[in-house]
Symmetry: C2
Subunit: 381 residues, 2 copies
Amino acid sequence: MAATAVVGVGMTRFAKQEERSLVGLGAEAVRAALADAGIRPGEVEIAFVGNVFAGRLLGDMTVGQDVLWEVGVHRVPVVNVENACASGSTAFFLARNAVASGQAEVALAVGVEKLCVPDVGLLTQGDHELETQLGFVVPASFALRARRHMTEFGTTVEQLAQVSVKNRRHAALNPLAGFGRDVTVAEVLASPMIADPLTRLQCCPNADGAAAALVGSPAVARRLGRAVDVDAAVLCSGSYENPQDLVRWETDYRACRLAFDEAGIGPGDLDLAECHDAFTISELLHYEAMGLCEPGEGGRLVAGGHTALGGRIPVNVSGGLLGRGHPLGATALAQLCELVTQLRGEAGARQVEGARVGLAQCMGGEKAADARSCTAVILSV
Amino acid sequence: MAATAVVGVGMTRFAKQEERSLVGLGAEAVRAALADAGIRPGEVEIAFVGNVFAGRLLGDMTVGQDVLWEVGVHRVPVVNVENACASGSTAFFLARNAVASGQAEVALAVGVEKLCVPDVGLLTQGDHELETQLGFVVPASFALRARRHMTEFGTTVEQLAQVSVKNRRHAALNPLAGFGRDVTVAEVLASPMIADPLTRLQCCPNADGAAAALVGSPAVARRLGRAVDVDAAVLCSGSYENPQDLVRWETDYRACRLAFDEAGIGPGDLDLAECHDAFTISELLHYEAMGLCEPGEGGRLVAGGHTALGGRIPVNVSGGLLGRGHPLGATALAQLCELVTQLRGEAGARQVEGARVGLAQCMGGEKAADARSCTAVILSV
């Protein structure tokens, strides 16, 4: 794959923002990314826009065109993509491929989501599926994983809660994260039970928001400066071969392995990581898939403080989904905004000192206990 | 752009099929394409799946993974795409680029749509847009275009009706088209008025269906044989510069021009075309954008029989949207199935004799009177 770089990023605040429109959010993120790069709207040659729920919640289609029309990105190919929570990184995967293949010098990836609308109800991942109808909604599925991890590896509810404590504390250092505050393990565990053992403060909050990244060729990167190299961008879907193993998504392990292979590095080379902490248990499972610890050791890794800011390998310094909130289509691009900000040394109070290599892992949807889509992106300076 | 070929196609019947599931339809089309090519599911390296309404009508997301899981296409990158009626050709655009860039030897494009569900109601293209709320729904917008074409160029309601007569007659020759029958101009004009001057038989019917195409590298095409060359695959979005011109979509003209440029041919080199006849007026406007006649001459072109089977340049020999029905995400891939079938000389009773070059034009959504997305694909043998 030919060299590419992230030449600009931008995002809105992630929070419950009922008064804001999808187009307004998306346009703000794209304008911020263009300004960050120093690129005019007319220089964008192709655009990929990730969104999940606009059809279902707003009755809208082709929302990417709406957003890009608003900011003045006209005439170019626009592709709306959906891969559940990995929609934003799927857009990035395509933008990167468009530049790497020489199809474009500058490609735009956008993620945008409007979840906080009146009467939204429960957002399931397949109303017509037997699993859903039988009550196996997303939190229940993750609760099963948590129970299995506890049984198999001795993970404790306190260790689970520490993921939420850490990420909400990180989020308090991030002005764009809507759910940052100091919470204690006791407070996390005392919050209302959603699906045993996962309490409400262990589930990521719904949010509205948008994020964007501009991918450029090496020539564009040289011209603009401040570029961050794309060392790997992997997208894969599930094999669905091991539905019985609740603590190991084969797809997650595979996506991370393929990304390390492409970048020619290993987990020990990472300075920071962002991962898809939809629930506290998710982050532990993703530690293990990313190779930050041995399988089963996730609970002890967080409890030892190793993944907190200042620790050996800080994870979700942005606040993650738990601390930032989770506007589905935008989440994976917010992860990349965070990596770019960190790798440029512009993260202020939450800066990971000397950060040079970062991994963003994301995962979208489940099917028979494996992931429908999983992405892993490695960036470096 | 490096050489690529369509190495296999497959589609379901397009019709109202309330008893069939989205996954069942999609899987049937993909299995048919794999069988047509002589390719095993495991040989597909990347897949793009077009769908518009699953989120809104079925509460589903990542439907591509559901379909591909069913047929045994596992582990590879899967991208769900949405570009309104051009979703299927957007999937094809990406599949073609994936192969042309060397990212894959075999890429799959699928389009699938389930529209005929209980209580579906009116499917607008943006419930929250002022235009929609004021009653400017899709048929009304096309009715305005028809009136303008009649005023500006002397087009008659009889000429409009002849598009429907022709396409439904073509559809009667296509066993996969659900709405084929002999209708007369008088019958078309006497059907209930939807938006003056467009009567019900001038509006494409909702339908359920799926279609798929496999794109291969030249090496794969040589190995499999029966391949059809991809000479151009263009996707563009609107410029929104001329909202006042109701009979000329700038995007439509541009997409067709770019496709001719890429293929190095002109309209006179075409042996047949498929276009997006969502309404009778649409086909006339697309004739003009494709360069099959001068602007304003569309009505006279169809009235002269030139676009019927046996005419100078047959258009929508498949039956088009009017005769085949319009499962949004699948429509543009059904156009490509028709071109491939024709170019291989396998179209039976509706075969265009000696067909060697075909164009498929598609258009998705509208925004301020321009198209949100427009695609043009040229195939040849």
